[in-house]
Amino acid sequence: MTKISITLRALAAALLLGGGAVAHAQDSGALLDALVRKKVLTSQEAEDVRADLVRENATSNAGKLQLSNSITSLKLYGDVRLRYQNDTKDPQVAVVTGVDQRSRERIRLRLNGDFTLAGGFFGGVQLQTIQNADSGNQTMGDSGTGAAGFSNYNIYISRAYFGWGNDWLTLVGGKQPNPFYTTDLIWDADINPEGFVEKVDLIKAFSALTTNDSTLQSESRFELSLVAGQFVFCDNNEYNPSNLGNTDAWLFNTQLIASAKLTDKVKLTVAPGYMTYTSGNVTNSVTGGAAGKFNETAFYGKDATRNLSIVTAPGDVSFTLCGLKAKVLWDLGYNTAGAKRAEAIYGLNGRTTSAHSHQDDLAWLAGVQFGENKKAGDWSVLANFRQTGLTAVDPNLNDSDFALGQLNMQGIKVGAAYNFTDFCVGAVTYYDAWNLRSDLFGGQTTANQKIANANAVQILQVDLNVKF
């Protein structure tokens, strides 16, 4: 081998090492061009190095993934969760369709791809098991869903969205992560609403519009954002005269999120908001949690989204306690149209049936949380108490785990989680709920509306979640 040949191969090796195993000839093109311009290499020698690099790459399994030119970054990730779940339900009326006691082994898969594009554009896709909006859990061997006998499972699109943003404004369209500051009192954490969202960082916007520099406030102790969402809950055929509810059902939700660092270690966040629906006939089956079990007027039909005008007020104080992150949190929902909904949907007229109570219109939650789960050895615990009135929240959106999503319930949620590794978390969660009002029409609870037809519900969940 000649001296120049040895030198060239050494250079090629250096370029490969410098660029990692994914090095391509074109990646090193600028360096080779510079070496040619400096007359270190001739053009032909540079070409030989390029050819060597491409050949090395062709015989390697690294660096073969090709991405669109428009992508500036792409993150692929996901998780698989195994869950044991035991539900015990004490129904008031024995005709309930569903189960009074059941134990299940469940699996949930989520695959995510988040990308950023040039010019402030971004987006994401998520695929997961199960069509339900509020749960990705596939019960193993579930004969009810045709999964017995080692059947394979479907995969569904749970997120597909893109948006644009700058320092102070973000616009997003599609089926997307919930943009609101919230708890599972109002919004089940699994739900990805679909529609349009606008977020404005008001402090940065003010700074940008008055000084043309939105970065001036980046060290501020205060944050103030406005989030507005317009979500399509059910699309109907407006031109069908035989369809009584021929208008679409839209959910409009607006929230002001304010936070302040009270000290270096204490932060207060409050997020008052308001959500309401346009009247609309929910003609398509709503899948998920309690709604999936009970196709009745609270979820399905022309009254499903009627008389829901809910004022919300979640918040928290986060701080450090004994070196651990800790949080005291709360949430509140009050349906200002609760009396009308109580009569129209649940039949509480106070004359021939039970009377509506303002307790029905209120939902609230208070709790604490210690620790976090980020790396091996981390642990956390949580506990909260809540009351959810009969008309206080949209039963299509509230947590499907607490009391199986039932309304007119109160109770506790306690849990603990531990990181076995950075990517593997074990968790145990227990819910104990009992009815809020016991004097509703039809007995202790409402016989006509199975969503409120429970005296008590206990749920135990044992999870092992692996992230990748």
Binding site: H24, R37, Q44, E47, V54, N69
Partner: protein, 269 residues
């Protein structure tokens, strides 16, 4: 039948005809339409026992022929793609490039077009379809007609990389089989714009537009200060040998490089 022809060609390529050498050269229209035939003629004058079979249908066809082992030399105006290298390696072949000439991709306009020059940004905007009217770049109002090479062409790929930030061509672009067809169309169409190798710019009815104030010339192409400069290649399976080596050496010789210059390319040396 096609297979039989391929096998026969392969045998002829690998063994040579009894008493006579045939070199099968396939690939780039940029090289194969003018330069390589003239080099072949000059070579044959010195080596009468050598015959040539030259097919110039685009750089991609040269790599395909090399991989199928139906050509001795693949002419290319672009570098081999990683997929082509991989395909060759899978067959135990080693595609090796030899730079035989430098070229500059010239932007050509109809000679009646009042525009003398464009910026690199404007060139990108025109060929990607961001700009569709000549008035947007200071010309007379009128829809821009874009002429490009077809997808088998190395120039087609090179131009995307050199001039278009790897973006796609405008949907309205008309794809031509060769440089001469682009010259012909632009010469006929006052609203036409296209690109061709440097060897094809001396034709009536067209003119070369400066890019960022530079028109393609030997010194600017060789030192790459002209933005659309590029090397052109012979690709062979491994280091050239036998008659193939002899022809490659002839191309790089002073005599060969003189022909390179006469045809309109920039010599390597």
């Amino acid at each position: 039948m096609k297979k039989l022809i391929a096998i026969a060609t392969a045998l002829a390529v690998s063994a040579g005809f009894a008493g006579a050498e045939q070199l099968v050269i396939k690939g780039s229209d940029t090289l194969g339409a003018k330069l390589v035939p003239q080099l072949a003629e000059a070579y044959k004058a010195e080596n009468p026992n050598t015959s040539f079979n030259i097919a110039a249908e685009g750089s991609s066809t040269g790599f395909a022929a090399l991989i199928d082992q139906t050509a001795n030399i693949g002419m290319s105006s672009r570098r081999a793609k990683s997929t082509e290298i991989s395909a060759a390696l899978a067959k135990g072949l080693d595609l090796r490039p030899t730079i035989v000439a430098w070229d500059g991709i010239a932007i050509i306009l109809n000679s009646a077009n009042p525009i003398q020059g464009l910026t690199k940004k404007q060139v990108e905007q025109i060929f990607t379809g961001d700009i569709t009217d000549w008035s947007a770049v200071g010309g007379k109002p009128g829809k821009i007609s874009i002429y490009t090479r077809n997808t088998a062409s190395g120039t087609y790929a090179d131009f995307k990389e050199l001039a278009m930030s790897k973006r796609d061509y405008a949907g309205s672009a008309q794809k031509m089989a060769g440089n001469e067809q682009i010259v012909s169309e632009v010469a006929k169409n006052p609203s036409g714009i296209g690109y061709v190798g440097l060897a094809y710019v001396k034709a009536s009815g067209i003119k070369v537009a400066a890019v960022d104030g530079k028109t393609p010339n030997q010194s600017d192409i060789r030192d790459k200060t002209y933005p659309y400069s590029r090397p052109t290649f012979y690709y062979t399976n491994g280091a050239p040998a036998g008659a193939t080596k002899s022809f490659v050496d002839f191309t790089l010789s002073a005599k060969g490089q003189k022909i390179v210059e006469q045809v309109g390319f920039v010599p390597v040396k």
